[in-house]
């Protein structure tokens, strides 16, 4: 191999390594589709509707409500939601306007540890406001085309945690993560401040 080709091969190798390095170091980002409002409570939380004493709050943006990994409230790419300061005694709220493209009977599958409550267009859909282990609840609703309001409240007391929300047509087996566009729902991205 002549000198020039040898040097060129090495340059390519080094650039590949550089690319991998940049990829590994690049800050992890996902589309800011959903704004999660995290609130840390001063006292232990035993019920979703208890009086809140919020000592700190912050917003976190995620692409979908797939937040149960390893027994923790955790995004697959972003890691722990809110980091360690928000691991326990935490309220989480999601308010999201979404567009329904096709009229029909839909279902929401809410998995939570601990409790939650879900309203759509300010109409209570389902809830389990007490501490619980991770379990999935199916909530059905008829939706017409157009904009709708999604309002989810969740809390984490202590121990393991997690939150997942999926949606799908009642007469079909396929489910989609809430936040992911589909032939049925559309989600506009939020604008982080």
């Amino acid at each position: 191999m002549d000198l020039s080709r040898k040097d060129s091969v090495l340059t390519v190798l080094l650039l590949i390594v550089g690319g991998l390095l940049a990829h590994a170091m690049w800050p992890v980002r996902v589309a800011p589709v959903l704004r999660l409002k995290l609130e840390r409570n001063a006292s232990p939380i035993g019920h979703l509707d208890q009086t809140r004493t919020i000592v700190e709050s912050r917003d976190v943006f995620v692409d979908r409500l797939d937040l149960s990994h390893g027994g923790r409230l955790r995004h697959a790419e972003l890691g722990d939601i809110g980091d360690d300061g928000y691991r326990e005694n935490l309220f989480l709220g999601v308010r999201k306007r979404f567009d329904v493209l096709v009229a029909g009977d839909y279902r929401f599958l809410i998995g939570s540890d601990d409790g939650f409550s879900l309203r759509v267009d300010n109409r209570p859909l389902c809830a389990d406001p007490r501490p619980r282990a991770l379990s999935v609840q199916t909530c059905g609703i008829r939706l017409e085309p157009g904009a709708h309001e999604f309002a989810l409240d969740y809390f984490q007391g202590s121990g393991p945690s997690g939150l997942t929300v999926q949606y799908g047509r009642q007469n079909q087996s396929a489910n989609f993560w809430f936040g992911d566009d589909s032939p049925y729902f559309r989600f506009a991205p939020e604008t982080p401040e």
């Binding site: 040898k6 040097d7 090495l10 080094l14 550089g18 390095l21 840390r40 360690d84 300061g85």
Partner: protein, 550 residues
């Protein structure tokens, strides 16, 4: 005039010198084997080397001084900046700080390592005396001191000084070694910068521990070998003596430095290769009879001399801390006669016995044990297992931030070093097994040496049953860095010699990548706060078993 010539034997590979019939015309710093004849490899590299030497960048004035000065500044910046932080003990500092204080106070103690490293730690503390106004007597009554036992305001500037200065020196010695071997200052600069940009080496060098000190002596020994084999000079007995001194100092810090006993073998073979090749055994034996004492006497002198300095001056016995001192040694301690021959003999015997028994008592590696920090040697080249030396967590505005002092490698350094070893080994196999020609015999033989040192270290370590830790890899890592530099010269030296810009750009690109890797892991080296997510972004390899503090 004799010139260094490195050739290949038909039956194996050897580092050797041969007499040149004509005076060498190599300029200083250019040690290419001009006019060299190969014996078994039938390689003649005269013509290209002539062009190479005429264009070599080695002679440029700017690089001659600029490169080492930049290297010095870089080392001071990465290793020396605020080295007294964190202001708390971590890992073996709990032992070495007490040992150093005992040296200063003349208190007898027994420990698992030879005394030289701790004496130098004590020297740094005595030189700066940052704690002279504090009551450090608690250190004399403990073998392992806890942070709470240190007086308020205790400064680590003194006890960490020797390691910091030694590691900076090691970087410069590596540069000198690579200049002597390759004659290329830019290449030497880039590869000598790697230890200053390796997070594991830097975090360890910035501590009151032994590795940084040992590495300076080890690099000094390798530099001495390179100096002995430089072009235009004959190997003298004083070179054996210098090598013996530096190898002895290396072993006197930590016994794993004994791997450097391969260096005098390499020096002798290079020195006597013509005689060995021509089966002039009497001549070789005569030389051997002079070379062995020339090497061994200084080596033994500095090794046992460090023990003598320790035993003779550490005569105070703290009640209840007699360790395993024999009645005879204790008698000498009471009478302050440990400086005598009989006192030294009794003390040395007891100290060596204590070291052996201590090593036997260290537990084996238990990977099932929660919190096990030890690791199997086969994982070291990939960086397994990292060690969380200390951490401090703070909550800022609801977010948890942790300041780590973490033994974690710069993977850009460690992986290219491993790749270099694999390539070198393949090159040696290709030569030995398949008889492939070697284009740059001098570089090839240095590759053989560095690869042998690297593999010999592992061969020895794998015989040890006690638990070992990732930092035991720092010594072979230095062999690997030197090997990588020579391998680079082997592969791309012709382009560098021709003054082409492309190989130089590649060198600087490598340095840039290494610097980026260092910067990425720098928070774990200097205790800069990281959130859990930021820490998780640095968990690149499972074998590291890097864990965020939750």
């Amino acid at each position: 005039m004799a010139a260094a010539t490195l050739t290949i034997s038909a039956t194996g590979v050897n580092l050797h010198r041969s007499e040149m019939e004509k005076p060498s015309r190599c300029p200083p710093g250019d040690h290419a084997p001009r006019g060299a004849r190969s014996s078994g490899g039938r390689v003649t590299a005269a013509s290209d080397i002539t062009a190479e030497s005429s264009r070599s960048e080695a002679g440029t004035w700017a690089l001659r001084w600029f490169a080492p000065l930049v290297l010095l500044a870089l080392s001071i910046l990465s290793i020396g900046t605020r080295y007294w932080e964190p202001t708390s003990l971590f890992w073996d500092e709990n032992y070495h700080v007490t040992s150093a204080q005992k040296h200063i106070a003349g208190v007898m103690y027994m420990e698992s390592h030879p005394p030289l490293g701790k004496m130098l730690i004590a020297l740094g503390e005595a030189a700066l005396a940052p704690n002279s106004e504090l009551d450090t007597s608690a250190l004399l009554r403990a073998d392992r001191v806890e942070q709470a036992q240190l007086p308020t305001g205790y400064s680590f500037a003194g006890v960490r000084l020797a390691s910091v200065v030694s590691m900076i020196t090691a970087v410069l010695l590596l540069y000198a070694t690579l200049v002597l071997i390759t004659g290329r200052r830019l290449l030497a600069f880039v590869f000598a910068a790697l230890p200053a940009l390796d997070n594991a080496l830097v975090v360890h060098a910035r501590s009151a521990m032994l590795e940084g000190i040992q590495l300076a002596f080890a690099l000094g020994a390798i530099c001495m070998l390179a100096f002995s084999l430089r072009s235009g000079s004959r190997v003298r007995l004083r070179h054996y003596a210098g090598l013996g001194t530096l190898v002895g100092l290396t072993i006197a810090v930590k016994l794993n430095g004994a791997v450097l006993l391969l260096l005098p073998v390499a020096l002798f073979m290079a020195d006597q290769w013509p005689a060995l090749r021509e089966s002039r055994w009497p001549a070789a034996a005569r030389r051997l009879s002079a070379a062995v004492p020339a090497f061994c006497l200084p080596a033994l002198l500095v090794f046992f001399g460090s023990f003598y300095g320790f035993i003779a001056t550490s005569t105070e016995v703290i009640p209840g801390h007699t360790y395993k001192a024999s009645a005879e040694y204790l008698q000498h301690l009471r009478e302050h006669t440990t400086w005598t021959a009989s006192g030294f003999r009794a003390g040395l015997r007891d100290h060596l016995r204590y070291m052996a028994e201590y090593a036997d008592g260290v537990p084996r590696l238990d990977v099932c044990k929660p919190g096990e920090n030890g690791s199997h040697a086969t994982q070291w080249p990939l960086g397994g297992k990292t060690i969380n030396y200390r951490w401090n967590r703070e909550i800022v505005r609801g977010l948890s931030y942790v300041e780590y002092t973490y033994l974690v490698p710069n993977p850009l350094v460690w992986l290219v070093v491993l790749g270099g070893i694999v390539l070198s080994f393949a090159l040696v196999l290709g030569r030995v097994v398949f008889g492939h020609a070697v284009t740059r015999p001098r570089d090839y033989h240095w590759l053989v040496l560095f690869t042998s040192l690297y593999l010999a270290y592992f061969a020895a370590i794998l015989q040890i049953e006690r638990v070992m830790y990732l930092y035991h890899y720092l010594l072979p890592l230095m062999f690997g860095i030197a090997n990588l530099a020579v391998l680079w010269n082997y592969l791309f030296g012709d382009g560098l010699a021709a003054g082409r810009w492309h190989p130089r750009i590649n060198l600087l690109l490598l340095l840039l990548l290494v610097a980026a890797g260092f910067a990425w892991f720098a928070p774990l080296t200097y205790g800069w706060p990281l959130s859990t997510s930021q820490m998780e972004q640095r968990m690149w390899f499972d074998v590291w078993r890097l864990e965020p503090v939750r």
